[in-house]
Symmetry: C2
Subunit: 742 residues, 2 copies
């Protein structure tokens, strides 16, 4: 590495100075506007060299296949479809490789491919396999054409100064200009949407505008066909992310949506730095990149809404986003993300990442407790993330108080999930889908995505009368958002309170989830207080989906050991096998399981008459489409107002190497709940005699003072939450937490 | 590291020269005979420094608890029991730390503990909580007393030269001599067994003999109470390991059994090198250490018999064995095992390991295809391990043709399991036990270990009439061993053939499992040919326990989607839920599943009328003691002679990062079986038109020539197995494999 530092230092200095260099003597207006480098880059920083090798192999494989630019014919997955996808990647890769290596063979290969497109493209009308209202030319839907253009124009930019005037003119006028005309004025019904698909079109058109030095294309891309700003990229930046950088469909789709935003933003920054695009709207694009990383655990996205659990930061969109984000900020915490990814881009931004990482500049990404408000104005609920410190293995509580999230949203208002000791312990099923596995419904969302994964009972939140929120109608869900009433993330008592009204007719429910650090406990306790108010007697189910093997059940069970019935008929209930059920008392309503090397006890305070059902997903699944995962359901029948109180406690250690086990039993002796005039008191007694009381006022106002009484002793606090601890059972409780924010 | 090299080089040189040094002016006959070092060891090699820190913390914790030597009272798990366990570890650790650091405080702590034992021990009779025929003095069973002595005498050896003559005499005569007298002549019914428990007693007595310079104790330990060699350590070395170093209870218990053998052997080597103990019986002790490592995948033991799946090489027994093995051989491949373990011992042998590892001398452990014969003479069956190369992630096929393995043995003659791409794909349940988890039957073997885990249906082998091998009687199983007829591990066609007679009355079955490398396939194919010969019509079940999620079933299924029945009544069948069953034809009898990033297709050639049942463990399990794992069962009713043929094929790749899937469908077009006069032909046709035929003669003789005909074309081969491949469907097949060994 060191031997190249001088050369590189220079190259990088030039790159950073924004100097547009040229490998050959470039005609005016032909040099790269996206990939600005002063000459071949002789860097062997591991990440950069790795990407160079990867792309060189990709281009080599493409070259072996020859120049294949078929007449469009097939829908998604078909051979002409796949060939055009391979081609845009080959043009992109060959262009970058030419820039990085100076090897004219790469430029020539991209040139020959593009000249073929120049022959084909002008002959094309709407795609023969098109369906829907946005047919493409090369692909069955124009979204794919936009993606083609975003990639291909980057490759083209990189080789454009190596072309003869004639070739350049041919490709300009027969590929890039007509494509960007088609994708903008040719399909206003897409281009003028405030929607992620339109962002791809705007990015494609705008980047082409910069490369062709066509101000008109750039202006359309930024401010819409009429340049009024009513539509276009800038409007999309305003509307599609919340002020906290949250994208309403959830982390899995946020990752996907991010790419055209950051790639086009980088092009804007390179060509019109005076726009300060990364500072636009209080820097929301950078917030979006950081939010995307924050919405992960161990590198894997929280699987909210339609999401695959195995999707991680190791994905094309994020290699691009991290490199661009780093180039824009030099925030060294992005480098640790790149390190985990093990990849970067073969661009000047990727070079920076690779260099600075190799030079040891990486700093840990600051994972933190954060509220991610939803909606353009930040008033459509929120995802609340509570973390025990910045270590990514630290306990992470995710509360989904956000809006519906459009058609990929799940019906899980005020649901939650929990990671502890690096593993998902209270789980979200994510999507029912085997992406691209042909035998599983062609790799699309499975029927069970609708019949199970989206349904409320598949989540950790209230189900009324065995139906899902909004009766399973996402458009109805779009009209109603929860309200995040309170969020406090500092100190040892981290709390989220939210409320939703209208998920069910005449039913309102409010939930407080608190993450409590307690001296002497390895990981925080999670306290859950859910209050329902209904107008008609109804059945309330509160499921807890957990991961692990049951080691202890505190209450007597009636089992179905030899014939396993199904819990219900519809709305997800038809997919649950019942293993056992029982009616616990206040003192014995516990379930303990082992996950990895830690035990977890879920301790409930069920309303009188509540039955607890132990079940497992997988019923009515003749095609084996579902994973089989356990769930506990608290069921209260014939109720109007009710309060569900529970605490989830990580404890002990199972060490298979040393063959030792510690604290396999809960450290909590008792859980109590008292309703006072304007507050709920949740009191925990530890086996060592300490008590811990959480007082949660109905009012979320920070300034308001409250009093209550517990066991004859007065409690006083101000604001939404008070925490009281007594070192020994005899001492009066004393408030530990007063600070909070509304 | 470098700054210490000179000092260390010297110290190690002295260590290696076997120089008995002393920290203080040691009286003659008091210096260490086990931990021979010339002075404090100032090494900061990571593994050695780590172990020093770990033991220092352990001793510090023990010291904080003060000197506690309680009168024995409790059985296993009770407080006096646990305290005596902590004490031996503290004496051991304090002794080693004194030797390594020269800090007299460590010696003093061990001295004070031992003087307490000198007061207590002479007062003790049989343990008050004793049960069984071998009560201890300190512990309820004398096995624990032996373990106490093995550890404590190592600590004592390390401090003995620091003691006053009086203290030394007190501890010699009131602790170590009476304990070794008790453990030898005091309990001949244990000491004279040829059993692992007796090995602990011999090691304890023999090591004490060296430390006390008592030749009589050493002689008893080596050759039995009467010194005839009929019993004692040397006899145990001959009887308890097979000539290949295999221990009959299987890998999990092999690990456990190994410790007293290697620790005592090291003491013999240090004091009587002329015995060449590590060369004894063709070096069987070193073979046993290496076999223990070979019987792992990814560091985890093959879970044969009663075994916990999460048990790995990271265990006390193996830290000791690897350090001692390395010191005895300087085989640098042991160092890579130590590296994976991340620990070594705080002994001269551990120092060597830590130093040479830090100096980069480690070489990959040579994982290889190997036959591990069972029984003292190697004629009681075998465990056959077939590996695709020496990479530990390479495909590994384990065939269990070994003997019963005593009371911890499972009823799974000729069963198999498979690892591929680093994961268990065809699985063995292992033991039903949550070790040391109190709520799970006190952490002991669960009832389900007998009712499920040991039963034949819980394994991948033949079940006749829903009963287990030997009718589930392990003592009957001990009397009958399979015969390993053939094993060939070289080249692209690796084969094991074995036979068993007597697992069921009047039933004999023979199984060939072959691991075939095929050009263009990422991982080998596994071909399974099982021939049963019975005298009475019976029901044959052939289960395949697999890990993964079903992605495709080739044949029509009758499902039980809404009410899940149980498969049977007893012998493990009561624990199986039935999901579905069907009656496939020859062309569609496939099951495909996804495990990690790879697909697996199990393709059967079921005898006519065979029903295939898809089921899952977990029925009749009201206490949630079982893991829920899928199984496929081929069921043939009313059969006498039958042949089951199948091939397991890894294929394709599911890449969640790139969101690409390749080859999710099998690459095999057809599977055929032909019985000839004296052989079975198994023919595979690949989708690319190639054919591959395996010809398996009844006769395992290497020299014998065979001919057969397939599709009108002649096949000729010599020996047990012939392999024929045709590059295209039209060409005549040609033999690829002739080499084999009997």
């Amino acid at each position: 590495m060191p031997r190249l530092q001088t050369t590189l230092g220079l190259t990088i200095a030039m790159l950073l100075a924004g100097q547009a260099g040229a490998l050959a003597a470039a005609p005016a207006g032909a040099g790269p506007v996206l990939f600005r480098s002063a000459g071949p880059i002789q860097a062997d920083y591991p990440l950069f060299a790795g990407e160079r090798r990867r792309l060189a192999e990709l281009v080599e494989a493409a070259r072996r296949g020859g120049i294949q630019v078929p007449v469009p014919r097939d829908p998604g997955g078909g051979s002409s479809h796949e060939q055009h996808k391979r081609n845009y990647m080959a043009i992109y890769a060959a262009g970058l490789l030419y820039r990085v290596t100076g090897d004219g063979a790469y430029a020539d290969y991209a040139r020959r491919l593009l000249l073929e497109y120049a022959r084909l493209y002008p002959t094309l009308g709407p795609h023969p396999a098109a369906s829907g209202d946005s047919p493409g030319r090369l692909f069955w839907q124009s979204l794919n054409d936009s993606v083609w253009l975003v990639y291909a124009v980057q490759g083209y930019d990189a080789i454009r100064d190596s072309l003869s005037d004639e070739d350049r003119r041919t490709i300009d006028e027969q590929v890039f200009r007509p494509m960007s005309t088609f994708l903008s004025e040719g399909q206003p019904q897409v281009f003028e949407l405030i929607h992620n698909h339109a962002t791809w079109a705007c990015a494609a058109v705008g980047m082409t505008g910069y490369v062709l030095r066509d101000d008109e294309l750039v202006a359309r891309a930024l401010n819409g066909l009429d340049k009024s700003g009513r539509t276009g990229f800038l409007r999309q930046v305003e509307q599609l992310f919340s002020p906290d950088g949250y994208y309403t469909e959830g982390p899995y789709y946020q990752r996907y949506a991010l790419q055209p935003f950051v790639v086009f933003a980088q092009a804007i920054e390179a060509n019109e730095p005076e726009r300060r695009i990364f500072e636009y709207r209080d820097g929301v694009l950078l917030k979006a990149i950081r939010a995307t990383v924050q919405l992960t655990q161990g590198g894997y996205f929280f699987p909210l809404n339609d999401a695959l659990r195995d999707k991680s930061l190791k994905t094309d969109e994020l290699y691009q986003a991290i490199a661009i984000g780093y180039a824009a900020t030099r925030d060294p915490t992005f480098l640790s993300v790149a390190q985990w990814q093990g990849r970067t881009t073969l661009t000047p931004e990727g070079l920076l990442v690779a260099r600075d990482l190799a030079e040891g500049k990486a700093r840990p990404f600051p994972f933190a407790s954060r509220l991610f408000r939803d909606g353009p104005a930040g008033d459509r609920g929120a995802v609340a993330v509570l973390r025990a410190g910045s270590d990514e293995r630290g306990q992470t509580l995710v509360v989904k108080n956000s809006a519906q999230g459009m058609g990929h949203g799940h019906f899980d208002k005020l649901g939650w999930m929990l990671y502890d000791d690096g593993a998902a312990v209270v789980t979200d099923y994510g999507a029912a889908r085997f992406l691209n596995v042909e035998s599983k419904d062609g790799g699309r969302y499975l029927g069970e995505n609708q019949s199970w994964a989206r349904q409320t009972v598949a989540h950790n939140t209230l189900v009324v009368n065995e139906t899902s929120h909004f009766d399973g109608q996402w458009r109805v869900g779009e009209s109603i958002a929860p309200r995040q009433l309170y969020f406090a993330a500092d100190g040892p008592t981290r709390v989220s309170t939210a409320e939703v009204e209208g998920a069910y007719p005449e039913v309102r429910f409010r939930r407080t989830l608190a993450q409590l650090e307690v001296d002497g406990l390895a990981s925080p306790l999670v306290v859950d207080l859910l209050r329902v108010q209904g107008s008609e007697p109804a059945q309330y189910d509160l499921p807890l989906h957990y991961a692990g093997h049951i080691t202890d059940v505190g209450f007597p069970l009636h089992s179905h050991p030899a014939e396993r019935p199904v819990l219900g008929k519809a709305n997800g209930y038809q997919h649950l096998w019942v293993d056992a059920s029982g009616t616990p008392e206040a003192g014995n309503a516990t379930l303990t399981w082992l996950n990895g090397e830690r035990f977890y006890t879920y301790r409930m305070l069920p309303p009188a008459g509540t039955r607890v059902i132990l079940a497992e997903s997988g019923a009515n699944d003749p095609r084996f489409n579902l994973r089989r995962e356990p769930v506990l359901i608290e069921r209260l029948e014939n109720a109007t107002d009710a309060t569900f109180v529970a605490v989830l406690e990580p404890h002990g250690r199972y060490d298979p190497a040393a063959e030792t086990v510690t604290d396999s039993r809960s450290r909590i002796a008792a859980l109590r709940h008292v309703r006072t005039e304007d507050a709920d008191l949740v009191a925990l007694e530890l086996v060592d005699g300490r008590t811990l009381t959480l007082a949660i006022a109905d009012d979320a106002d920070a300034g308001k003072a409250h009093r209550a009484e517990l066991g004859g002793k007065p409690l006083e606090w101000s604001g939404h939450v008070g925490r009281f601890e007594a070192p020994t059972a005899g001492e009066p409780p004393r408030q530990e937490l007063a600070a909070e924010r509304p």
